[in-house]
Amino acid sequence: MQVLFYIFAAISILSALFVVAAKSPINSVIALIVCFLSIAGHYILLNAQFLAVVHIIVYTGAIMVLFLFVIMLLNLNKSTEPQKSLATRVAAVIAGGVFLLTLLGAIKDGIGIAPPAAYDGSVGLVKSVGVSLFTDYLLPFEVSSVLFLSAMIGAVMLGKKDTSPQPLSGGKVLTKGAGTNA
């Protein structure tokens, strides 16, 4: 069955590459969704069902939709995105490659994690995760509410059109500052 892992892995890597390479944003989004689904598959393989579900809901359900929504909103769906200069792109690829090689090179002689004695099959089931979430990790859970609150405020504040009549103080001036700055 472990062949599944490699299939999923191949899918996710390819789709990830496609996210980067795709001309139009929409394609990227689609590719990313595919990638996420494959990752969900990985979660299943890891017996992390709770994560798999949440993952699908949050990412493919919420986040990616949000992306699509924004793309539509700002109708960015032109496939003619001005590309970076070739040199930059090559450099980018090289950078990514070097980074990967460094990491892999670092762990070439084993990651030094001894395989545990026994696997606990119940780990990652909704129950166990839920329990630990609402006992050990209760405080972070609550704290994250603050996070969401502020994110919400921010989204609203920045997202909605600014109806204040006069331009905010310093707008034009800042540009003047730019003149003096450079």
Binding site: Q2, L46, F50, L74, G154
Partner: protein, 109 residues
């Protein structure tokens, strides 16, 4: 259930590490590669997910739900960040009338 466990046992942890590193690097390269900020955001998401995958793998390996809980939190945060990020994006589009990353170079030196 056991077959799942056997699968976990059968796939060496290293491979998960390799996979997640690869995804991470792809995301990183993408962030550098593209000019379209939305795509860059997606690449960031990709990087987060690679981390999630890694954490999940480790947590399964250690038999400790904490790692998965952490993944859960990362998802929350990612959601929040994306929200904010896209909001900023929208505002930016409004002010700059472009989401090209290279347009943003008025603040410098």
């Amino acid at each position: 259930m056991n077959d799942i466990v056997t699968v976990i046992r059968s796939v060496p942890l290293e491979h998960y590490v390799f996979l997640s590193f690869t995804l991470f690097s792809i995301g990183l390269a993408g962030a550098l590669f593209r000019r379209n900020t939305i795509i860059i955001l997606m690449c960031l998401e990709l990087m987060f997910n690679s981390v999630n995958l890694l954490l999940a793998a480790f947590s399964a390996h250690h038999g400790d739900p904490g790692g998965q809980v952490f993944v859960f939190f990362i998802m929350l945060v990612a959601a929040a960040e994306v929200t904010v990020g896209l909001a900023i994006l929208v505002m930016m589009k409004r002010n700059v009338d472009s989401i090209d990353i290279n347009q943003l170079n008025r603040l410098k030196w």
